[in-house]
Symmetry: C2
DNA sequence: ATTACTAGCTGTCGAGTAA
DNA sequence: TTTACTCGACAGCTAGTAA
């Protein structure tokens, strides 16, 4: 495997266009701007600005609602992650990157056991084994976060993650997912797994692990479990 | 004036090539790598890698010594600044940029009064008036930093600065310079001024100000003066 | 006023190849 | 082995213009 971690899957010139949109405030919320105005802040022609925006939209990095008098533009979660990847890389390389640790405490709750189904699908299981280095117990532990942790959770959302590809079988399609290697209760290895492209409730964390965590820690619904994630996912030295 | 602060004067695709060089460790010191190896880590052809390196060298962003068996490559100070500019921008926009303050304490020393000569040149004086908002006293205050402050000084060196263009008159050419607005002894406005393209001793800081600082603070050689620089130089909102 | 298509230009790419 | 030239192909740019 020689996969490029730094592969952002975006053309350099489009990355800088996205960066300029962030500069104009399209990261925090929608921004109304015309292609003409945007082209001048970008230092190119109106036509190029228009084309860049279309390409970014196609790539799922911004969302737009085109209307007369300027369009409403907003950088998507994926767009922010694309920008943040470079940020994390630079931080690491320029500041001498101390690996931050994100620690969460969540309450165990029932969940719908959907996770178990996905994990039984051979393809996910293989990818997890390959990328995380363990064979997952066929089920997820669902944790609910306190509202106070949501801001931290949002930041984590932007951090680089290991990607699990989506796939199809005869019956249905499975979306791709991201996962973050984690330490559960400071003892057991596992991972936070986040389904892609779902407007998932950020207060819910699905944890996988090679072992059955409810047994291992004698967990009942409502118990508190600690999840520590260290970031960034370092590339090879 | 509608000058783009974000104008890095570098093509997007070259920026990412520079970023990849940083990834390979060419920021901390020279790195030996062949264009073929580099092209594979860049994900492009050997010809493009070679061309990119030549363009970066022409632009003064990397220095090279081409030799058989791979060239020695190192990112220059200006190259690091180009990367750092984007880093600072992202930090500001993604993390909600608290403006850091760099504070230095330096010992007054004589200096060669070269600075005074430059400041009398009309062009510099005009640019300072325009960009810093004051008419400089025709002379600089020279401070020598403690060795302990040098690391901080090096970091400041990478921060975005106001640019003073170089120029020529009939007799000679004057190089360009960077300056950082500063507060002197927490009371008087002024600026740190750094001549470009000189392998300047980082332990020396040249301070300009609208008034004669030696009188204002009753300074003798060896006295301690405090210089506070807040960064980044925020762009217009 | 917008956004975006078409046409033609320029710059960027990479295979071949020289040094 | 290197690095870097030439040159054909095409991606990205802008001016003009349509919708």
């Amino acid at each position: 495997m020689q996969g490029k971690d730094t592969d952002r899957g975006i053309k350099p010139f489009l990355w800088f266009t996205l960066y300029e949109l962030l500069n104009l405030g399209a990261g925090a919320g929608s921004v109304k701007i015309s292609t003409t105005e945007f082209s001048s802040s970008l230092g190119c022609s109106q036509q190029s600005a228009s084309r860049h925006l279309r390409l970014l939209e196609q790539g799922g990095l911004v969302s737009r609602s085109v209307s007369a008098g300027g369009s409403l533009i907003r950088i998507t979660e994926e767009g922010l992650r694309t920008l943040n990847d470079v940020y994390v890389g630079l931080k690491d390389l320029l500041e001498g990157g101390e690996a931050e640790t994100y620690a969460f405490e969540g309450k165990v709750f029932g969940g719908l056991h959907e996770g178990a189904y996905y994990l039984c699908q051979g393809d996910y299981r293989e990818q997890i084994a390959e990328k995380l280095g363990f064979d997952p117990y066929p089920g997820t532990l669902n944790l609910r976060l306190d509202a106070a942790d949501l801001e931290k959770r949002r930041k984590l959302e932007l951090m680089p993650a290991l990607q699990l590809r989506g796939f199809k079988d005869e019956e249905r399609a499975f979306g791709s997912a991201r996962c973050y290697p984690a330490l559960i209760n400071d003892e057991v290895e596992g991972a936070l797994i986040v389904a892609e492209r779902t407007t998932y409730d950020l207060s819910v964390m699905e944890i996988i692990s090679p072992i059955y965590l409810r047994d291992r820690f004698n967990l009942e619904d409502g118990d508190i479990v600690r999840v520590s994630i260290s970031s960034p996912q370092r590339s090879s030295p």
